[in-house]
């Protein structure tokens, strides 16, 4: 099949890339644009390791075609820190030991980043519900919840300041 030229905004920068229609967004991000922060876990829409932000919504990039993001805006974990300063979500995962092997972490953080905009002051139950599309096989989730609570506090105090 003929390849198609697509252009979209990735982490604030316009990018252009040639893709086959069947190419999945996660592969375009990792293999063509060399943004390997988003991980390929299950490839079956279960694990959430490939979670990215698409036009302000969390999606699993293993189940979106690259051609579908033409003209749209994508944010990956590489775009979270600004000018070398960690995003509060990243800081939270570091401070609260929200990771062990780290494989699920980029997807966790991208979902947490969006979730805290949807719900800036969540209860623990709401965090667990909001993060239910991301699997972690190491932590038992407890410290991930704490990391997100840390980020929520930090984001709220920054807003109040």
């Amino acid at each position: 099949m003929t390849k198609q030229q697509i252009s979209f905004v990735l982490n604030g920068q316009p990018v252009e890339v040639l893709v086959e229609p069947r190419e999945l967004l996660i592969h375009t991000l990792r293999e063509q644009l060399h943004q390997t922060g988003s991980h390929i876990g299950c490839e079956t829409t279960h694990c959430g390791a490939c979670t990215v932000d698409l036009d302000g919504k969390s999606v699993k990039s293993c189940t979106v075609l690259a051609v579908q993001v033409s003209g749209r805006e994508v944010l990956t974990v590489e775009g979270l820190a600004v000018n070398g300063e960690l995003h509060p979500v990243q800081e939270g995962f570091m401070q609260e030991h929200g990771l062990q092997c780290g494989f699920c972490t980029p997807g966790m953080m991208m979902r947490a980043y969006r979730f805290l905009q949807e719900n800036p002051d969540p209860s623990e139950d709401e965090i667990r519900w909001g993060m239910s599309g991301n699997l972690c096989r190491c932590t038992g989730y407890q410290n991930i919840v704490k990391a997100i609570q840390y980020a929520a506090r930090k984001l709220q105090s920054a807003e109040g300041a």
Binding site: M1, P21, L24, T45, T63
Partner: protein, 291 residues
């Protein structure tokens, strides 16, 4: 896992989408949220030569009410159903069921129309739509037609949709006051399909149940309307023994596939239990005892 090769089309209008489908016939598939179709394409269970993406057709999105009927665009996502204050007020059964589907990321992509049109018996909206007496609006080369959700399913992945036809919207009559509804779904974990689930919608007049619909998810080749169970309860002052009889009638129509979710006996039994819980909660809601 990468899907097989296909040509990608992203029409901006419904007319264009219908003509593409008409032109390519059996070779074409409609792409809605893609969270059933793309996984099937990765596994080569589906190998369409042409994919017609409906995501740019704005007229297929949104929820409105006109003269006591809710109009839901087929491309409305699960999360949009959950966030809809109109649905929360007029028909909370729909967002309640949507919350039990998949996970937050998937609900951002998955659509009500895709869930209904796919014809997968494990999808949740078909039973909910049967319980709500919903109608489905289909658009094809010959124009538009409206068919009841009850009767739309002919078999697994097999519906009334003709080649070239697209499900464009869902019409749900707003349940009158005195109504109560519930969707009870047993699943092993977040994101799983139902081991068994039951949708109940009923209308009370004093102590008498004037009308009741019961429909079951994932315990047969399609969603199943439990007609005999409904007949047990309609027109009655419902008590536990009548509920028990209705549950037995509902279990009698179950013919579940055997998979990791359980064997025939277990899934049939769970369909009964979900039906019992859904009836009881719908009753309490109709009486105003529970939200």
């Amino acid at each position: 896992m990468i899907p097989g090769s296909f040509e990608y089309h992203r029409p901006a209008t419904l007319d264009d989408a219908v003509s593409l489908l008409t032109e390519y016939g059996d070779e074409a598939r409609v792409l809605a949220g893609g969270h059933s179709l793309l996984p099937m394409m990765k596994l080569r269970f589906a190998e369409p030569a042409h994919l017609v993406d409906l995501n740019d057709i704005d007229t297929l999105k949104g929820i409105t009410e006109e003269q006591g009927v809710l109009h839901i665009g087929a491309m409305t996502t699960e999360n949009e159903l959950i966030a809809s204050s109109l649905l929360r007020e007029k028909c909370p059964l729909i967002p309640e069921a949507a919350e039990l589907i998949a996970d937050p990321q998937v609900r951002n992509r998955g659509t009500i129309g895709g869930d209904i049109a796919h014809g997968d018996p494990s999808n949740d909206h078909p039973a909910v739509m049967m319980a709500l007496d919903a109608d489905l609006v289909l658009r094809g080369p010959a124009g538009e037609r409206v068919v009841p959700a009850d009767g739309f399913y002919l078999g697994t992945y097999y519906t009334l949709l003709e080649p070239g036809e697209i499900l464009i919207g869902i019409r749900v009559p707003v349940p009158p006051s005195g109504s109560g509804a519930s969707y009870q779904k047993l699943k092993r974990k977040t994101g799983d399909y139902a081991t068994a689930a039951s949708a109940v919608c009923l209308q009370m007049e004093g102590d008498i149940c004037r009308k009741i619909n019961i429909a079951l998810t994932n315990v047969g080749p399609t969603a199943l309307k439990a007609d005999e169970a409904m007949q047990v309860l309609a027109g009655q002052n419902i008590n536990d023994s009548l509920v028990g009889e209705a549950v037995r009638k509902a279990m009698a129509i179950c013919d579940p596939a055997v998979d990791l979710r359980g064997d025939v006996e277990y899934r049939t039994h769970m369909a009964g239990e979900m039906t019992r819980r859904a009836i009881n909660l719908a009753l309490e809601r109709a009486r105003g005892n529970r939200s």
